[in-house]
Symmetry: C2
Subunit: 319 residues, 2 copies
Amino acid sequence: MKKQVAIGIDVGGTNTVFGFVDKEGNCIYESSIITNAELNANQLFERLFKNINDSFIIYRDIYELIGIGIGAPNANYYKGTVEQPPNLNWGYVNVLEIVKKYSPLPSAITNDANAAAIGEMIFGAAKGMKNFIVITLGTGLGSGIVVNEDLVYGADGFAGEIGHTIVDPNGRECGCGRKGCLETYASATGIRRTVYELICKNNLPSELRDIGFNQLTAKNIFEAASRGDKLALDAFDYTAKILGLKLADAVEHLSPEAIILFGGLALAGDLILVPTKQYMEGYLLNIFRNKVKIISSALLGSNAAVLGASALIWNELKK
Amino acid sequence: MKKQVAIGIDVGGTNTVFGFVDKEGNCIYESSIITNAELNANQLFERLFKNINDSFIIYRDIYELIGIGIGAPNANYYKGTVEQPPNLNWGYVNVLEIVKKYSPLPSAITNDANAAAIGEMIFGAAKGMKNFIVITLGTGLGSGIVVNEDLVYGADGFAGEIGHTIVDPNGRECGCGRKGCLETYASATGIRRTVYELICKNNLPSELRDIGFNQLTAKNIFEAASRGDKLALDAFDYTAKILGLKLADAVEHLSPEAIILFGGLALAGDLILVPTKQYMEGYLLNIFRNKVKIISSALLGSNAAVLGASALIWNELKK
């Protein structure tokens, strides 16, 4: 009998990554193509499935494909659509209908943070958990919420936008058109803004004063902090304070067993995990204190997004 | 064949109300006893079941009792306990074990806001909805969250404390020992505090300036506002602004179909519903705008709490 694998696809603004993932979360093959964000969705999937089919030829005697899981920005699980994605010139498009043109396999789509949450549940740090939240700290802040072992999609399929809860209605301008959203503080972009705010406010010497805003990365800040740069350390502390405040709100809604941090800024490890946990505990109602773990993703690594996308299919089969 | 009814019990700091409720939400009998908050839980339930049994005698030839649903402060659905309730001298007590001494019927317990949410789902304004939030605006602010037709209890049974999400970490002192919790602004007590803050801040004439803080009620403020008292109207507007801000956060977590307002302050109707909705829309991420209804409870009336408590049992039977 052939061994079963699911196709995991992660659509990004620059590259689209795909791979074949077995039930245990082993990625037996992974590759990527350029997304070409200015072209429409059909053109991407036509090229993508040519690549997938070519890649699978050498596996087809041993493996059987069982489904296609897709992570994409602004994806709607209920409708199979992607709606006005910020980095792709797609407009409103039904992706699952396009996929049907190229493959008869069952398929499912959700946004990347939701895919990460299902990936953690099936293969990663949330194995065995029934209630948890995944926070992706990349360019923005995404979130996937799991309640009673099911991803929370809400009435319209768009639930889990913790990055757009409001820290301060008069705060930093957000890409969404509003002000003071959590992601303007707690994300790779947010911590860069915090570094620049601290440079304005105080006279601490810092190696970060030599880097232009567009050149500054979360990695620069992490490396400076690791070398003891006080301004960089203060930037992590401020990020953790705001994140801890809003994660306390999330806990008061949902009382999860754990909050899992995923993505670029999460790579800073204890520099972000430890103070975020401390601040969150300080902001929590007493009945929730010392109950909720804050941990790193167990899907860190190059194929985390593909594992997450494929987990969508493995999760459907479990039902 | 006898018609089935569930016993609904609502334990309050002053009175404990009980009633017999059929599958359609008709309360065929309701009564109450004094709680005696300084006595222990066993003493309450001993008196209560004597009353329940005496009351049921005239119904027993026509009706059959099928279970006992209880709403009580700080109740934990998973454990059957009540833990350090603020207005009762009970400490930590397993209520369902006590109930077993007096009745062999199946029983379930949860806090009053969760009972209200299940009541709305089974008998009230949320009939047919899969995702909604009930907010109880009484002395404090309670909440019950329903996702995929199930109440969200979280990992520990205490989920749904939206009243203790933080508006301002340096804000008003809360009974929970922290500062700036939503319920210090949006509740019957919160709007009284707002009236006093407005009296301090401005020189608007108002009939509310003649009422001591301890004598001032949400009803006074509602009646003054209904007569066009500008200060009272401003108090409703400020309450709605803060509530709208934090309900937007809740929508961004959960994307519910509706938010249902229940309890004392909700009786103000459009005075609170309309501006809360307006502010919430202004604070919402664009994808959630004009989707979420804010409506009044359909359980308003003297036996709302009993209906909610009995609905716990009717809901278990549906599973």
